[in-house]
Every structure is written in structure tokens, then in C-alpha cells.
Symmetry: D2
């Protein structure tokens, strides 16, 4: 049996004439019907990026198409991925005490906004910090951490990633800095929400820093985790207006709203294959 299925092809390579023609011809020959296509040519690096969503009448032909595409990819030196559109990815969620981002992601998942399967929730704080039953049937793991146990704790996280087959790790206000080792292992598949507008206020208590400086806007930044904390490729940012009358506590409150919507957008973009890394930056094909 066969039915129309949508796939998403993302690719990047050094730009040269003929890429679009080759790929489009290949998809056409395979019976693919292109539904969305976006591309970007970076004039600085000379790199080409594309995201193409297409329907296949007979999904059994996808392996043949994959073979054809691998030939084109070899010819152009492409990095590429071909995914089922809407197939849920396995996601591991890390949190410390503040659960507004986590609760928001889980709600969006529950109503079908995010194509993911939460495989586990990990916190460095115990279950008693969270509302009973809040996480439903998702396994919860308490992995406490101290300076001394950090390496061992990260080992447990990494083991859990492998056991659960997690394809994405989301730091939903997880207030621990990942080691360079773990950050490296998760490169390109770990999203953090930085509770401030980067590069404005790095370090601890950014909203208090912002208040002290008297800025008129505060923001949040979602980015891929890299070895250098808070400095990974930015996926999404947003801000809200504040005034002199806002206390640091008001900023923290407004910040929660910005953080959860920025993180949710970034996770959705990732799950829908809308983000491609471009060195220390990202290409984000939003809709």
C-alpha cells in the first residue's frame, strides 16, 4: 500500500551553478512534488543552503530517491538529510528548578504542536521541586550534581541519551554549564535557552544586570550548545519592553514569557528541519 507522504530534504555545500537544477530534476524524476522550497546563498562563505519539502505519491520509492540523492551529494560535496515530515523525534529534557519552559514544551507537545516524543526528564533537583503528576508518564530522573560529581553526572546523562536514543537534548532552564566534552558530543543536537538577550548580558542573574544598567528592553536567546557557554549559534531571540518602574522581579516575570516562547520556537524550527548550521551561525528557514 502507498499513500502521499511528505519529506523534508535539507542540504548545504559550497555554492556552484547547477545544484538546484540537479536536485529538482532528481526529485521530479522520483515523482516528488515540491511543496515548499527555500534556499540561501551566503555571499561571505560561498556556501549554499536549502530546505525542500516535497510529497511522494509512493513512499516506497524513497529509498531509490535516497540513492539518487547520495550521488548528487557526492558530486557537489553536500551535507544532507532526508527526513519524514512530522515524524516525532526522541527528545531528552533537562531542567533545574524553574519549570516554565519545560511545562510549556510539554503542553505544546500534548496538543500536537511539537512533533516530538519526550523520552525522559532529567533534573539536578529532586521530584519534590515539581508538581506531582506534572510530567505524566514521562520518566523523571534526579541526577544531582556537585563540582566533584559533575563528570560522573554527565556520564549518566550521556548514557541516558544513548539508552533512550534521544535525537535532541533541550536545556529547558537547566542551570548547569555542560562540560566541553558533553557539549561536543551533543554538538548540533542540544538547544539551550539563555535567559537574556545575547550578547548583552552574559553570566549570572542577567535580568538583575539589565535592571542595573537601566535598559528599556529585555530578551532571551535560544542557541545550540557549544563548548563556549552562551556563545553557540543563535536560533531565535525575542524581547519585551520594560520601564524604570519594573523591578528585577518584574523582569524575571516578563523574562519567563520571553524565554518559553523563544525556546518553543527554536525547538519547533529544529524538529521541522528548519535550522542548518553555518559555522558559528544558523540559517533558519522559518514559516
Amino acid at each position: 500500500m502507498s499513500a502521499t507522504t511528505r519529506f523534508v530534504l535539507t542540504l548545504s555545500c559550497i555554492n556552484r551553478p547547477g545544484i538546484v537544477a540537479a536536485v529538482a530534476t532528481c526529485l521530479f524524476a522520483a515523482g516528488g512534488d515540491i511543496r515548499e522550497a527555500q534556499q540561501f546563498d551566503d555571499p561571505e562563505t560561498g556556501k549554499f543552503f536549502a530546505r525542500i519539502a516535497f510529497d511522494l505519491l509512493d513512499q516506497n520509492t524513497v529509498e531509490a530517491l535516497r540513492f539518487e540523492l547520495s550521488g548528487i551529494a557526492a558530486r557537489f560535496g553536500m551535507a544532507w538529510r532526508l527526513n519524514d515530515h512530522g515524524a516525532p523525534r526522541r527528545v531528552l529534557l533537562l531542567v533545574s528548578k524553574f519549570d516554565h519552559c519545560l511545562v510549556d514544551l510539554l503542553y505544546r507537545w500534548r496538543i500536537g504542536e511539537l512533533a516530538m516524543t519526550p523520552v525522559a526528564i532529567v533534573s539536578n533537583h529532586g521530584a519534590e521541586h515539581f508538581v506531582e503528576g506534572e510530567f505524566g508518564k514521562i520518566p523523571f530522573h534526579h541526577f544531582p550534581v556537585t563540582k566533584e560529581t559533575k563528570a560522573a553526572q554527565e556520564q549518566k546523562i550521556w548514557a541516558l541519551v544513548q539508552e533512550t536514543g534521544a535525537e535532541l537534548v533541550v536545556l529547558a532552564r537547566y542551570m548547569q554549564v555542560l562540560s566541553d566534552d558533553l557539549a561536543g558530543k551533543l554538538a548540533g543536537s542540544c538547544i539551550n535557552i539563555h535567559h537574556s538577550f545575547l550578547p548583552g548580558f552574559k553570566g549570572a542573574k542577567p535580568y538583575h544586570q539589565a535592571h542595573g544598567r537601566g535598559v528599556k528592553l529585555i530578551g532571551a536567546t535560544a542557541h545550540y550548545v557549544t563548548a563556549a557557554l552562551d556563545e553557540g549559534p543563535i536560533i531565535e531571540q525575542d524581547v519585551e519592553r520594560i520601564t524604570h518602574a519594573d523591578t528585577p522581579e518584574d523582569l524575571v516575570r516578563k523574562g519567563r514569557d520571553i524565554e518559553r516562547r523563544v525556546l518553543a520556537r527554536a525547538v519547533r524550527y529544529h524538529l521541522e528541519d528548519r535550522v542548518i548550521l553555518n559555522g558559528g551561525k544558523t540559517v533558519v528557514f522559518t514559516n
Copy 2:
């Protein structure tokens, strides 16, 4: 002699597999190097829209390419345009008394932000309403209008469009309703700024209406002119936050800022071939 030149191809047709492959192959064969490409498949109407910016090493080959494209266009039943990117279009500007949009457009033109050549300024009010020398060397025409003379006045506008070879008419706060006849002649090539957020407040004094209703945001709408005033395809909209403390005069002041930036964006999108009509709506390929 030849040098790299950028062209913009826009096209629309009923969607079916193979369009992208055909066009991309054609451009590749002609030596075209695609720099930007955006497409949209409207699931409601089944129509396909695309904007492709590409470089040609030898601009003398463009006529041959045009011939090839016309063949593809015939095959797929495409509406299409192929324009030099950045070549200035001839623009006729209409204004009544409030000149904030006009002054803004002229400033942007002067510093190179808008690829246009203002061929004339027309007002139904006399030159004495404007600051002397404000329009530089652009011909200014005073075409007064009354109910009785409306047909004749529009005849003069239309004659001016033809004489000047204007490709675009911008109603930069021109407070006269165009007749169905003139609106029809200018279909798809006349942009109006409606000083309100449509469909919120139609009719006269929209900011006063908004004030009376106690809304918390006001906006402006740039749209193509059609026979049904204020109801043409929307190109761009924006809003600003207001409070109970804003008087109608404050709203008019804030409105000026919204109007001029919304109109300027819409005009830029048009001049860069970023807007394609889709029935009563638009497809806008922004950057």
C-alpha cells in the same frame, strides 16, 4: 563587453510537478547562477509562485534565456516577468496635504534605498502647501479636483502616467478615492497607504474611530488599489501600542510613523519584485 548582472525572475502558474526542475535546468543551461530562490505553493488555490534572483556572467545571453523561458512558460501556463535587479522603475507620486510619506520616500530614494526614478509629483493641493524646494527637481503638478471635475482630473493623471512612462503609482496619503475606471487601469501597479489597520477601521478619520473604541494598538496598511477602496490585496501592515492617555492627536502622530514605514516597505518590496498577486491576496517574498 560583458559583466555579471543580476536578474529577478518571478512566476506563477497552476502547480504541478516539474516546474522547479524545468526552470532551474533552463537557468543552469543559460549560465545563470541562482543567488536567491523562494517559492510558495498555495494549498487552497493549487497555484505555484516563485521568485528567483540569479546572476548571468554574460548579460548578452539574457535574450536567449528569455526565449527559453517563454517556452517553459507556455508549457506550464505561467505568468512571468524577468527584470534587471536594481534597475530603477519610473514612479509617479500622488499626495494631498500630509507629506510625511512622500518626504520619507524621497529621502529613501535620495540615499539609494529605493530603486526608482520619481517622474512626477501630483497633488490636488497647490505647491504653497509644501516646503519650497522640498521636491528638488522632480516636476510638481497641481491637479485640483472637485466632484464635478473628478473625471477630467483623473484623465490628466492617466495622461501623465502615459507621458512619463510611469510603471508604478504611489498614493502617498492621496486622500481622493480613485474611480473604478482609473483603479482598473492601474491594477497591480498602484500602491496606497491606508492610515489604519484594515479591516479594523475603514472610512474617514480612522484614528479618531480607534480612539473612540479604546483599542490598545493602532496600525497602517499598504495595499494595491482596486475598484473597491481600501480593500485591495494587502502588501504590508504594522502596528504600535497606544494607551488610554493618547489623544486622537497622539494617535495621528504615532500613525505617521507607522504609515511611512509600512508604505516604504511595500514600495521596496514592489520595486524588488518581491510581491506577486494571488487573487485578492499577495505573496510577499521578503528578505
Copy 3:
């Protein structure tokens, strides 16, 4: 025993010289220390509105102050309220099937963002439409409704308002139009979220209307309920940018984010005595 306590005084009356002097002198004499004060003089209606937050060292003096204020109120013909700042109000929450606003309000309550006590949740749909345990220990009532049973169902709602002592009713995506009778009983103490930017798209499926019209921004409106549906005094509005590529479903998704943040802001403003009715409009003293 006594300790510093914060109170909020709100007042409105026909404006005439001396109001601020009288009130400020009275508060000073009572040992009140003004911490926040905002006022608005409506030049159209000649009405004066103020919100004053002040600390009392000895909260036992509040009754004496109340007596003094009632004298001033009589002199100036003031409507006024004096409330403990931060004292939770009893709130009844109504919902139909979509629970994103409800879940959001409850989360904000749980983490201390909203000074309220949810006394009951009422839905015209059964508990099986919601996630088990989602509402914790808050009583849930299923009050089904048909055209024939509407009067009786509203009678049950009104009885519940009285039993629970609810001071505020929030329609958190409750998709039933209240009768003029119930709307009248709840005047000034019932907040609705209209899932569209008013006055843009009234009626059913506003996001589909917006999509059909091709607008570039969508929004939501929180307002007090009055007899004329969707036309009560507006408390808060917000918008998000959309494009031609957004489907009606995308608009519904984006709409959820706007709706919940607009409703949450409006409820917070109400709970903190920041909203005063001004005829068919509101005065909102935000922070």
C-alpha cells in the same frame, strides 16, 4: 501587632481642582506612604481617574482611613475602592474545549504570578476532554448547554458565582455567548479573550477570516464582557506577524500564543486594580 501593609486605592470622578491635594493630604495624615501613583484626566469626558498604592505602618488604621476617604469621596462624587495589595481574589474559570488559556492561567497562579484563588472550573464539555489531574484540586463542573437549556445552565453558573463568592469570572476560551442577563450581572467583573484583533474580525473562525483576507498581522483582544458580545471595553491587545505561507492552522497555533499572553496580562491588570472603566473604554495603569 502591626506591620507595614500595602493598599491600593482606585478612584474616579468628574475632574475639578483639589482632588489630588485632598486625597494626598488624607493619606499623609493617616500615616500612608505613597509608593506608586498614576492619574488620568480624560479631556473628552472631563473625568478624573487615579490609582495610588501606599504603605501603612499600622494596618489597624485602615478603617479610620476608609472613613476619611468616604468623606472625600462624598465631597467629590467619587467612585472608589480600597484593596489590600496582593490579597488573592476568588476567581471562577470557564472554558470550552481549548484549554491553552486555562492551563496558562493556572500555571501562573501556581508559581505566584497571579494573586487569585481559583474557586472552580466550569466547562460545557466533560472532564474527559481534559488531561486527568490537570486542574489539581480545583473543583471541576460540567455544565452542558444547548439552546434549550441555556437559561438553566447560566442559572447554575450564577449560583456557583454566588456560592463560591467569586469576585472575577474569566472566560478562558469559553465559546458560548453569555445572555444579556448574565452579562449584566457580571458587568465589570467578567473578562473574555476574543481570539482575534477587534474590531477586525468578529464572529466565528476569525483566524480563517484573517487568512481569507490576506492580512499580515493577527491578534487577540481581552475585554470586559457586556451585553453586546465582543464589544465590551478592551483591556489589552497584541498581535503577531504572519505571512502568505501561514495556513489557517498556523494562524490558530500562533493565535494560541497571543491569546494566552493577552488574557494573562488582562487578568493580572484586573487583579492588581490597574483597570478602571471609563464608559465603553478602559483606563489601564500598567507597570
Copy 4:
């Protein structure tokens, strides 16, 4: 002869009970009718700030009122100003080559949006860099500057401030760092537009820095000038959304729009006595 005139009183002092009562009683006794009043109590510094706009039926009584207020000010240790609302201030405008902020301010002045009298325009570049007649009858001064002549050039600027009686100096994209000496002389009366979102990108070419970092929003900051460049008290900020597809040139273009509206707002707030300094921050009583 007498007629209703509006005045604006701004004041700041260490907070203690009775300030509002004393001031309001004084204004009432003088026949003042309060039209707008905003106050802020800074819980961190314990300072009190207020802006009160009031009408006087007989403007001849203002000197008597001034005398009474000076008594209250002495009692509470207040810094205060009492200004005619809407009386134009003398403003000196400095610019380098990019004139978008300057042209915008002059347009707003011309149509009555800004209550100012531009007394002179100074540039470190010659008149030939600007459009002939652009500045109308406002005197233009070319004060070239090099490292060696900087002190002398600033001496000329300061002399011009004194000659013209300028009450405000606006750096409308004046790309020279003022010396600590001149910045000190102009403390609290010199507004700069920093063409970036502070504290994000200080230093040269901030839009290129932002592009290199891959941020998703860019902004601008208007602030009072202090000895430490780009670090003075912030008056206003705003941002716009950007994408990976925006070139540094696109950012510069979008930046122009943000810069001119942020600077215009800051200048208006200053001219309407809406800004009060609070150490290294500002209190801004917007409308």
C-alpha cells in the same frame, strides 16, 4: 491679560511621606489644575521622582507659585524644574555624514511634532556632503576635526552652545567621541544615538559585529552623553527582527529606521520634560 497656560513640574528627592500632599496642596492653592501626574519611588535608592502637568488660569501667578514651590523644595531637599509646556527649547544639532536622523528630526520639527528651535547645525564634514537647501535657514557650521585639532574644535562647539543659548545638544549620528571635558559640560543636556543595541555591540561597525555573531534582532539606543562613551543613561531603545539572509548592508538600512525613531522619541521625551536622571539610569514618564 491672562489665559490658561500649561506648565510642567518635574522633581526628585529622597522619598518620605508628605511630598505629594505638600506639592498638590501648593498647586491647588495657586489655582493650578493638575492634568497629568506620574511618580516613581525607586525602592533601591529610596528616591522619589514626579512629573506633574497642570494648567494655570492666570499665568501671572506662576512667579508666586515658583516662590511657594522653592519653599517646599528646600524643605524636602528637592531638585526641581518648572517649565512652560510646549515652549520650544533651543537645540544644537551635530552630524557627521549620515543625515537620516538629522533630516528626520528637522521634518518632525517642521510639522510641529517637536517643540524646539534648531539654532545651528554642526558637522565635521563640509556642506557639500548634504543636499543643498536641506537645512533651510538653519545656520550650518563646518567644524573639521583631527586628533590634533580636537580640543580646539570642541572649544568652537562649546562657544556655539553658549552663543546660541542652546539648551540641548543632539548628536544625530555625529561620529566623534566627545572628550570628557565637553561631555561633562553638557551633562544631562546632550543626547546621542548609538547605532546598536547596548550593551550588545559597542565600538565600531556594530551592525557588522551583529551580522558576524548571527543575532536575530538588531537595535539602537538613545542615551545621555557622559564621559564614558556609549555608557550614559539610556533613554530609549528599540529593535527590529533580522534573518540570516540580511547582509550587513541590509542591517545598516534597517538600522537607519530604528535609529531615527529611537532618537526622535528620546528627543521628544526630553523636550516634554519626561526624562529625569536617576544616577546612571533614567526615569522616563512616557505617554
